[in-house]
Amino acid sequence: MKRILLTALALLIGAMALAQDWRAERNKAFKEKFPYRYEVRLGWSGYPILDANNFPNGYSGGHRDYDIMPYHPGSGDVDALYGTAYAPEYMTGMISGEFSIHFKRWFTLAVEAGFNGIWGEVYDKYDGSHVRTNRGVTFTVIPHARFYWVNTRSVRMYSGIGLGVGLGGYDKEFMVYPAAQLSPVGITAGRKIFFFAEGSIGTAYMGGKFGLGYRF
């Protein structure tokens, strides 16, 4: 019995050593084909869902000035009848820069910082004359953990998760709020200079992000 146990232990240690060698070989081979420690990215994201909910007028939480409240019959609120009208409001979507450190073949830590521009025209409901242009911007900082599961010479695929913070202001409103992003699938194509695209859901952008990057 003792002999069997000793044999099993020896086999296990041997297997572990072999696996370590194999992993070291693999890492070495990967280092040769992917000799980069850092990477920077410039990207453009999809629909900024939380900003779109927090800032523009016309949403339930966005009624800030008395003059944009809708008139309710019987309220006797003549100011609401002749207040201001908001034309469609626009957002650029988050435009972000990113710095990443490749710690392992399979693991990268990235810090993303981006901004989302917001603007919209305001008109006088009495005669349609232009009253003002509202402008605002939000900033978001999100550290991401990325886990790579395809590592070829030119193509890498990954999944990632990020938690951070957002803040910004628009039309007299200022807010600070948490930010979270989940990217089930992302892909980079290229080596030193690469294109990237990822499908993502979260507070900062919904749908995805794409852009260009540089590794060094």
């Binding site: 629909y47 016309g58 019987g74 006797g76 003549v78 100011d79 002749y82 009208a85 626009y90």
Partner: protein
């Protein structure tokens, strides 16, 4: 540099996403009609509804305890605060108020019933307009019996003055209302509204559309106008003329 900036702004503008639809538009005839009808609610409908409910309320108070229990409209919907003060539930007809009767009958000459708060929720529907009134007199008001022989009361609340005369018919009460009201806004905006020279007739009718439960609506006869001002300048007006069973006809400045 200017070119680069222009290119960047163009790309951003083209690629940006629209996150809201226009919230509201320039005031049009429909807006003026809705506003005018809202004011009609405050100085015509609400006083008539108030009297309709309160006359029934007094009849209920004069009933024996046993008879009260069989009154499906009022039983359980009146709160007795003591000192001749009662709360009237909106479940009776959409009107909610707290009233101090001063120990006098609503039919007694000189009787003044004082309200601490009045709210009224009702709706109007014809083939052109469907309006939900949401009226709130947060400073209350006063209802005063002016002429018992002719069944005439006056109602005063928050820049609203109305004279309401009850005309009994076999089936239901009909009210003749002469009223006017004023609104002073915050930016120099104001409105003055009034019934036409002959006043307006108001009566409740049961409407059964066949698709929903029958519901009570208010039928008007007569005209009601609102003039809107910016400072001293008249900027808009709306006159609506009502004929029972027909859509209201409107004349507006837009």
């Amino acid at each position: 540099m200017k070119k680069i900036y222009a290119y960047m702004m163009t790309i951003l503008a083209l690629a940006s996403c629209q996150v809201t639809n226009p919230y509201s538009k320039v005031v049009d005839a429909n807006d003026l009609m809705i506003y005018n009808h809202g004011e009609l609610g405050r100085c015509v409908t609400c006083p008539a509804e108030l009297l309709d409910v309160l006359i029934g309320f007094e009849e209920y108070l004069n009933k024996s305890d046993e008879d009260k229990m069989y009154d499906q409209k009022y039983y359980g919907r009146i709160t007795d605060y003591g000192s001749d003060t009662y709360g009237i539930s909106a479940q009776i007809s959409g009107l909610n108020c707290t009233v101090d009767t001063g120990g006098k009958s609503i039919w007694e000459e000189g009787a003044e019933w004082e309200f601490s708060v009045i709210s009224y929720y009702g709706h109007y529907n014809d083939s052109q307009l469907y309006i939900n009134h949401d009226i709130y007199f947060d400073k209350g008001g006063v209802l005063k019996m002016e002429n018992p022989a002719d069944s005439v009361w006056t109602f005063h609340a928050d820049n609203v003055e109305s004279r309401v005369k009850m005309i009994r018919t076999d089936s239901t009460r009909v009210w003749k209302v002469e009223g006017h009201c004023r609104v002073n806004g915050e930016n120099g905006l104001s409105s003055v509204s009034a019934t036409g020279a002959e006043g307006m007739s108001v009566r409740k009718v049961w409407v059964d559309l066949g698709t929903t439960y029958p519901r009570q609506e208010i039928s008007y006869s007569g005209s009601f106008s609102t003039d809107l001002f910016k400072g001293d300048e008249k900027i808009d007006f709306c006159t609506m003329t009502f004929r029972p069973g027909f859509a209201a006809s409107c004349t507006t400045s837009r």
